[in-house]
């Protein structure tokens, strides 16, 4: 599903964010990426969605080599990924329903099928009764769930989340993590970056630890 092989990412200023990363995530597998701040978690996730390109090495996602993907093909790669961003990237000038609708508009869904899917996604994250609300009126936990609904509305085979529990108190974080586990149980491959050590202690998942840009054994 996702496979990294000897991936390096060096920035123009000489900073080396990732060094010799090799790992793979199978279909339906769930893994957590952890590590200190600046260890390269976000960079690794951004490489998967082709938001950034690796300096060397190959990254295969859904059978496509992302490192050599033409820019015209990137949108279609991203439509098969569900992305939850660290800074959420909610659009505050449209309501909850319209935020979740956006990925479907982009892939060209008819409005009836799209409405059904949006409601289904909102139902899964427990926001169905807030579909007309404006994002600014949502609590932190609800905003995070809105992001997740937007990520899953396209029914992607891979879900990638960057720090989905930061800024949430323990109970909310627990809820969010349970939600990811339940998605994983229906066959979605999941990769989550987190530095929330407390949370990790209670999880049974595979854990990849990054240390200064390198994967710890």
């Amino acid at each position: 599903m996702i496979s990294f092989s000897q991936v390096y990412k060096r920035y123009p200023n000489g900073y080396e964010a990732l060094r010799n990363i090799s790992f793979s995530l199978e279909a339906g597998e769930m893994a957590l990426i952890t590590g200190h701040s600046g260890a390269g978690k976000t960079t690794l996730l951004r490489l998967i969605a082709a938001i950034e390109r690796p300096t060397s090495g190959s990254i295969i996602v859904n059978g496509q080599n992302v490192s050599t993907l033409k820019s015209g093909a990137i949108p279609f790669l991203r439509r098969n990924l569900g992305l939850v961003f660290q800074d959420q990237k909610i659009l505050f000038d449209r309501n909850v329903f319209q935020n979740v609708l956006l990925p479907l508009q982009i892939s060209g869904f008819g409005s009836k099928a799209a409405t059904r899917r949006v409601r289904a996604a909102l139902d899964k994250v427990g926001l169905l009764n807030r579909e007309k609300a404006w994002p600014i009126t949502l609590s932190g936990g609800e905003q995070q769930r809105l992001c997740i609904a937007r990520a899953i509305v396209n029914r992607p085979s891979i879900l990638i989340a960057d720090e989905p529990t930061s800024n949430l108190d323990a109970d909310y974080a627990r809820d969010i993590m349970d939600m990811f586990v339940s998605f994983n149980q229906v066959g979605v491959a999941i990769l989550i970056a987190t530095h929330d050590v407390e949370l990790l202690g209670s999880m049974q998942q595979r854990i990849l630890t990054l240390n200064h840009g390198e994967l710890a054994a």
Binding site: Q105, I106, S107
Partner: protein, 302 residues
């Protein structure tokens, strides 16, 4: 096909929404486009009207055909029968040398002097009214008639019509140049509006790209917006011209009636109106395209 259609409908709906979201700004942009376009289009309408008016004044251009002094009755009869069978000739009148002399004596008051002449110095002449012809065809007819046997000289009484025609051609050229220059202003207006839109919609564009929007998907609403704004601007120009015609038509009619000319101003023809709309829409689209090509690449996901 279905996806394609839904993408385009979505883009069009979005363009309308954006136009309505900033009513004052949209209104000002549209006014600028409308005024810029009403100038060349208005002058064009004026020229078309002048042309129609000049057609009314010179409706039947006249030719004078002077015969040689030694032409006799047979020659006159031959020319007469030629003119009768010549299609561009609408009507003609024969002025014999005697009647011409009589009239000259009456009109000039020089009858005493004229009486002193041994013989009549005036030739026989035909005054010919032609059907409405272009100046070029009229000139050809003049040459043709001038080559008839026993014709001394053929003269077109339409020098002023030629001058007006040349002037109108110059005017059309000026309209073209003015139109070309002001077209740039439309492109500039569209370019700037779209640039501002892209800047204010940075977040939206970024998110859309992050969740799989193609460049085409992001670009399309802006192109529709440019075309929409352009065509509404073109419609505004049309309305400005209509208002101008409405305001001047009555007064012009009164004025021309003093000269015994019955004339109403013409508006742009349906064809010209549609061209105006299409042209302004196309320019808006082009301006939007330039702007998007320049600014959209700057909004890359970070």
């Amino acid at each position: 096909m279905n996806v394609w259609l839904s993408h385009h409908l979505h883009a069009l709906a979005l363009a309308f929404k954006r136009l309505g979201r900033a009513p004052l700004g949209s209104l000002l942009s549209i006014a600028v486009i409308g005024i810029a376009f009403s100038l060349p289009a208005g002058i064009y309408v004026l020229l078309e009207n002048l042309q129609a008016l000049s057609g009314q004044f010179s409706g039947a251009p006249q030719l004078s055909l002077f015969l040689r002094l030694d032409a006799d009755k047979d020659d006159v009869a031959k020319i007469e029968s030629f003119l009768e069978q010549h299609p561009p000739v609408a009507s003609f009148r024969f002025v014999s040398k005697d009647s011409a002399l009589d009239q000259f004596k009456q009109d000039s008051g020089l009858s005493d002097v004229m009486s002193g002449l041994e013989r009549n110095p005036l030739p026989d002449a035909f005054v010919i009214s032609t059907r409405a012809l272009t100046p070029e065809r009229l000139e050809a007819l003049r040459t043709e008639l001038g080559q008839l046997p026993q014709v001394e000289h053929a003269q077109v009484d339409s020098a002023w019509a030629k001058r007006l025609d040349a002037l109108l051609k110059l005017g059309h050229l000026a309209v073209l140049m003015l139109g070309a220059l002001l077209s740039f202003s439309l492109i500039a207006v569209a370019f700037n509006t779209i640039r501002l839109q892209i800047l204010t919609m940075r977040d939206e564009i970024e998110v859309a790209k992050l969740i799989g929007a193609t460049t085409g998907f992001v670009r399309r609403p802006f192109l529709y917006f440019g075309a929409l704004q352009g065509s509404v601007g073109g419609a505004a120009a049309w309305l400005i011209i209509s208002a101008g015609i409405y305001l001047t038509d009555g007064q012009l009619k009164d004025l021309l009636q003093l000269y015994e000319v019955n004339f109403r101003l013409y508006h742009l023809s349906l064809e010209d109106s549609l061209s105006l709309l299409l042209f302004s829409a196309g320019l808006g689209w082009a301006g939007a395209w330039l702007s998007v090509a320049n600014h959209l690449s700057q909004v890359e996901p970070r």
